[in-house]
Symmetry: C2
Subunit: 388 residues, 2 copies
């Protein structure tokens, strides 16, 4: 068989990729012998690859455990701090920016409070302040970032344009990618906030390893996002999980069940649900009935999605998930009459960093595509620039 | 860089895979120069690979076009007839078996009529007769088959067990894989019939190249199947597209709108719809109103799926799709009030061979996985045996 220069280069790249994959996925550092066993590559090939990856800065040698007898074998690990990405949550009530390493661990964050009355220019200014704060806290410069994903309320098209937002009248049409691109030179992606929360739970949270799930964003106006075959389902125009728009589900008006409950009498709408869930938790029958009615409405739209998709898991996320101890059993009961099989239901575990963390996860997917896929190139780890 | 024997073998395999992929995907036969350009491999590597693939029987040399001047370059094409698969549609009213080549072209088929009152043993016997007929017509023996997929009415679990069938009381629990395995030695898969119809349309029919679609099986009891990110969505327990089970959609009883229409007076239920669609087509206002009511019911469940998934396309399949000229515009109108964006709706084009053809497509996916994926092995083309 003839082996050309191009063949050799391709072979070397494939060997590097299988080695870096094994090192990234391993929790513990690996010796050359272990790496050879895991990749199926010869010990000699692994030696070549490791020297090369080490020189380029993708992996680091780990100090031998003190007290080890004899001459210990060298061990290597993937350098999680070789690069960093930024995830941003642009919500109604807060803007949160998190900087993570290449494993999705948060190393720094910045947060700015906003509200329903914050104008578009003010909200965009808040985005900068949150990003600046996260960068200052991380000790990194904007040019060090390898990727940015921002999550926004509303429907976000495949091109990253916010096309529909019920909560913020002046937000549709905002050019977030353009805005972020004024000061950030790395690749930028915009996505819907609930979709990013679903992704974060599937990568780092309660749904680790689950292939098909429905993420319920449960609050005054419920929404939903889908992970299918392990990937975020974007849909043709970005408008997935919108079953609540059908009047038949009652999702657009269902919060009145909680806000009209006598135990919430006089409280502002934002407070009402917490009071009702609290009273139900304490055994108040009227409050429990209001929760049950809310859960039955929630179950209608949820059942439509469950019967359509037959997911393994439903995640209860969003503000009301803090009362999952009360709401989850009520939802479970309300789903049973509708579903062939009620999937497992679990509350979100990532809390208020969920959306920003999901942004980091999506940016990391793109980093992996660029560097670690079979079409990728393991050049030295440097922050990628946008095209054009 | 050191190159080991294992490295060389891997390199040769990767070169073979990229060459066979290019040849499979090309409509026209390719010269070595063209193959080199399409794969990025050197001319010398391509020469090696083509000699090897030709010897093994995966490709064939094409005769030069008569009248070509000078000495024409040799041209090669993928041998679609190197292997064959079997797709079987086990329905309420028929059993249809089709034998296709490796591109999904039907080379022979066998059909046996059954009905609602056919017992389980009789239906299983009909399966054998249809399979035997298709094999006789194709001139192949059972041992020549590379893969078999049978589509059954009802919910089919990931393990291939039929778990729920409303139309055939004695069918749940039937061990189709075990039955087929008594006489067929190749890998066997069982799947729901509507899912296979959806796959066939996406591979060979009206939805070629569409990534996300909802396939509506429209008849006396509508059903649905999903293709998401270009792949059949099976769901956790196989029960996807079952939104019609919610009473709120009215899908379980909606055929009465057509059967109760005065223009169908006295006709058996199986005939009624055809009469009503025909009268509506001819301009009968009462029949058109019955169609509109039916379409509004159909739209409720369809909208729930469309709002959940935001698909590019909805396919109108099943028996009533023969009246798509009347039903499709009514469905389109009925969806508009519910949907943010009404997807394109197109009638199925593959007709009554759709399910069997989808079975062949799924069997071919498994053939491609075994031979042509990066984990595959291009050993000589021989019919694979089941494990165990």
């Amino acid at each position: 068989m003839q082996v050309s220069g191009g063949d050799l280069q391709r072979l070397r790249q494939l060997n590097s990729l299988s080695s870096i994959r094994a090192l990234r996925e391993s929790r513990a550092p690996l010796t050359l012998t272990e790496l050879s066993a895991q990749t199926g590559l010869s010990r000699a090939s692994v030696g070549d690859v490791v020297t090369d990856l080490h020189q380029r800065g993708w992996i680091t040698e780990v100090e031998p455990t003190p007290g080890t007898m004899g001459r210990p074998a060298k061990r290597y690990r993937f350098r999680a701090d070789a690069g960093h990405v930024l995830g941003i949550d642009i919500g109604v009530h807060k803007v949160l920016a998190v900087v993570t390493d290449l494993t999705g661990r948060i190393v720094a964050s910045g947060r700015v409070a906003v509200d329903r009355n914050t104008t578009r220019p003010e909200r965009l200014e808040a985005v900068w302040r949150a990003v600046e704060a996260a960068l200052v806290a991380s000790g990194l410069a904007a040019a060090d970032l390898w990727g940015v994903t921002a999550g926004s309320v509303g429907v976000v098209s495949r091109e990253g344009v916010v096309t529909r937002v019920e909560a913020l009248p002046d937000w549709p049409g905002v050019d977030l990618a353009g805005h972020l691109g004024e000061r950030l030179s790395c690749p930028i992606t915009i996505e819907n906030d609930s979709k990013l929360a679903a992704l974060a739970e599937q990568r780092l949270g309660v749904a680790a390893g689950v292939q098909d799930l429905v993420y319920l964003h449960v609050g005054r106006r419920p929404g939903a996002a889908l992970i299918l075959s392990g990937r975020l389902h974007h849909g043709f125009s970005g408008a997935t999980g919108e079953v609540g728009l059908m009047d038949i589900t009652g999702w657009r008006t269902m919060a009145v069940e909680l806000e009209g409950c006598p135990v919430a009498d006089g409280a502002p709408p934002e407070e009402a649900a917490r009071l009702v869930f609290g009273a139900a938790r304490a055994g108040d029958a009227v409050a429990q009935e209001a929760v049950d009615v809310y859960a039955r409405r929630l179950a209608l739209g949820t059942a439509a999605m469950v019967l359509t998709l037959d997911p393994e898991l439903v995640i209860l996320g969003g503000g009301f998930s803090r009362s999952a101890d009360v709401l989850l059993p009520a939802l479970q009961r309300a789903l049973e009459p509708h579903c062939l099989r009620v999937p497992a239901i679990r509350p979100s575990t990532l809390g208020e960093e969920c959306v920003a963390l999901g942004g980091a996860c999506l940016a990391l997917d793109q980093v992996a595509e660029r560097f670690f896929s079979s079409e990728g190139s393991l050049a030295s780890p440097v922050a990628p620039q946008r095209l054009g």
